[in-house]
Subunit: 284 residues, 4 copies
């Protein structure tokens, strides 16, 4: 029985990059957090502190900025693909690179003026090992609410069940979704826009009997929209809005006054996938 | 020489209230955090724990919910005014009430579907002492950026100055503004919309030689827009975007690639006021 | 009637400074966030963008680091005093400087090894205008809990009161305290330790009939401990721990199982002062 | 080719539970966030909104509180084991339960008085599927710093490398560690204390040539300490402390004055394991 080094990686997290594209007087902005994680032949630095195969994380950060100048930032996915290939191709010790990008949207106010969008973040996670490339796109912080058309009843009642059934409640969630592409080539901005639209439309249009039903419908709608997607993983917190009991004050409350609670919250997680899609690689 | 009780208040903070107005199938949402702070004849509870003049903060919370049902939530300011008057009028020991409201905006997606807006928050702070009422409205979390039309040079150079002068930089800030109304009566939603538009327009349109200049122009524009405002206080963090030095990699960087830094940041704070406006009351 | 510039200031916020003092092999650490805010003859930059009287906030940041090297960091108060004097003395346009320091404690693990303390932060806020100097020390994030010896009853009951009275509850709070010194000279570390101890002891030892009573006792104890303090301001959120109703499951709950709630919370704020102390200057 | 439901689970997240154990006048406190996630035969609710096999997340929350009263909270691991078994044993549709506990430490100030510890959190993650049980313990938010005895040099230099080599730097990190037990039975509090001590001792005592070397040494030391551990996963952000260049001000800086940066940061992740340990189940 011995103690050994298992899976490992290293890189730079949260490299803040704002890229301004200038076409005459009209500017365009990409505001990104970039993370890199390299894996490979890295035993020596762990076991003896021999760094002769370690590309510093500082150099990885520099590469992000230099690549932004050299290649521009076409889309989060395209930028991540470039970086992932670079690290595997140029570093002998690196067998796999994962590059993750978080994009913060800005809305245009003028030719060179912008307002930062809210909590919504676009994500891209690329992994590349020389032979195989996997692209996962995503969104987080998209907070949606239906003030009706949501029911919840007919559930299991055990000895700890006190929840009253309802045929009309608020349904609210902060969408966190990741979808895996079958290919490493697409019009990424168009794809993102289509998936985002499908997620929102499915949430708005689904008459919901459980958040699970809404989750599945959101996933199904996305896969229907884009044939080049293998699967989508959704994590939907149930942001509970509880009707306040106003009867002690002689008042009714027909779904008008709610308290929005922070904790605890229901958390519904699920995957919707094509049954013939090849499996993905690694954790994402 | 004696030790005595000085200024004091108590109340409930962060009462989460979501109010749904239903006109037929079309719903409207107000999503608020409400805070109350009552002051008055409260020595006994401090000195001896005699609570006979203390209205529990739990009752204050209940009042918020009951008032939402009884009166609706017309606007943050109107709702705060109702509550502030109530506490002073109904509680013998209460000499002054401050009610603060933070509104989180939701954008409409359908008749009863909504998407939560970003970090932008609308604020209303009302104080009332029976005789006098003060209404302060505000906004926070409005993040704006100009990618050009900003300079910074001609400043003092002391022995600790190393900053290079620039005639073209990114100017970005998260606007935090509070404006004091001369009256306790207005079309609050319209007023808010006009002030917000003036703030944004002044930021976008001002060719800036310092963030102070932009601040003053924002304040001036707001007071020009609404004659019923006494003053506006602005707190503008300078969200520095620093051009990355790419020369070690043989690359130029004509304002294309920036690192957005978190800390430290410049913080510019200032008031713009009418010289004939009566002073406000208390801290806000 | 004209629109004019009112009170204003500018500076650098959240300058992160870690200072290591090395006495032989034994190191000592001071981990600070420093903020500066300068006020004075600053109309020109606001009205016309003329920066000829503006010392850049970047230079203020550099000064913080240079002073740490030149003078060391004796205590947050002493360091803030040095900086505040420097800006007023060296800059003709600066009439007043405020310097705020937040210190993050580290606990010693070895001669040059440390573990960062929790959420507790020590604060120092110095203002100086050439003639007068004010030193305010403080603490925030000190979270305390008594699991008994706290009652709450005998309060006002209005039509919105539903809270049950209790003779045994959990009392928990996150202490935020600021105390104003009469002088600008003291053994600051000793003073801080004494005040902190007095706050904790008063919280632990007070049999409480209201959080207000505990607040006053904490303040009184501090002023009793140090004769050189003019006043102390306390802001005490009531971190409610509510006994869970387990009766639906056939279980009693004699103060054993609680839910700790985030929002809303009671907020008790008050000042305890010497009746013969001169008033302080400005906001703090 | 069809669209199907893939892996899924649901549960309640962030159930806040404070349990007070009273032995005479001496109280003991356990302050937990509990999360549940159930998986099994849940297709119907996803596909049709039929909830007849869904135990509401509200009931799961109630179970947490009822179990705390019925069984007490011996340790995070023991409490999680009880809950995980309960859900699998009592719910026909549930094939697997994962229960995660985050414990916030409180330090004793008196028989029934406590101060909340800092950012350090103890974690326990239990999964149970009827046949097999896996227990993973952990810690997060343990922030450690060595002000010397850390070097970094001899690394790869590519065209983007500008980092200067150093033989004396600050090494600081926020330890996030998870260790998997071979058995589902142990003296969990003792085990936790031993692992925590080993992590701290290894960090303090290792003369470090890379954070990877420190990581491996921390893991090795833990596995040496407890034979009943299969593996440990460590995620160590490199909290960079950069010496400030004071040469523009005529000052040297022999590792005295540092700026602590927030972003970006190096992120070193690795597993140390026994080569003969059976593999774990699922993601953790």
């Amino acid at each position: 029985m011995g103690i050994v080094l298992g899976p490992n990686s290293y890189g730079k997290a949260e490299v803040r990059l704002v890229h301004v594209d200038r076409v005459g007087d009209r500017h365009a902005v990409r505001d990104l957090d970039v993370g890199t994680a390299l894996a490979g032949d890295l035993e020596a630095t762990h076991l003896t502190g021999d760094n002769s195969r370690v590309l510093p994380t500082d150099s990885q950060k520099n590469t992000v900025y230099a690549f932004a100048r050299r290649h521009g930032v076409g889309s989060p996915e395209a930028f991540a693909l470039l970086l992932a290939s670079h690290f595997v191709d140029s570093q002998e010790a690196v067998r796999q690179a994962r590059v993750s990008v978080r994009e913060h949207p800005w809305q245009r106010l003028g030719p060179h003026s912008f307002q930062r969008g809210g909590g919504e973040v676009r994500t891209a996670d690329v992994s590349h090992d020389g032979a195989r490339t996997q692209v996962v796109s995503g969104i987080s912080g998209l907070v949606l609410m239906n003030t009706t058309n949501s029911e919840f009843h007919g559930y299991v009642r055990d000895e700890y069940t006190t929840l009253p059934e309802t045929t009309d409640r608020i349904l609210a969630t902060a969408v966190d979704a990741r979808w895996r592409h079958l290919d490493a080539d697409a019009d990424w901005d168009t794809a993102y826009g289509q998936v985002r639209s499908a997620l929102v439309a499915a949430f708005v249009e689904t008459y919901s009997r459980s958040l699970q039903q809404t989750l599945y419908e959101m996933g199904r709608r996305v896969l229907d929209t884009r044939e080049d997607l293998a699967e989508i993983r959704l994590s939907l917190p149930n942001r509970h809005h509880l009707p306040v009991d106003l009867s002690p004050f002689g008042l009714d409350n027909p779904n008008r006054v709610f308290v929005a609670t922070d904790r605890p919250y229901g958390l519904i997680e699920g995957t919707v996938c094509r049954d013939d899609a090849p499996p993905g690689t690694g954790d994402w």
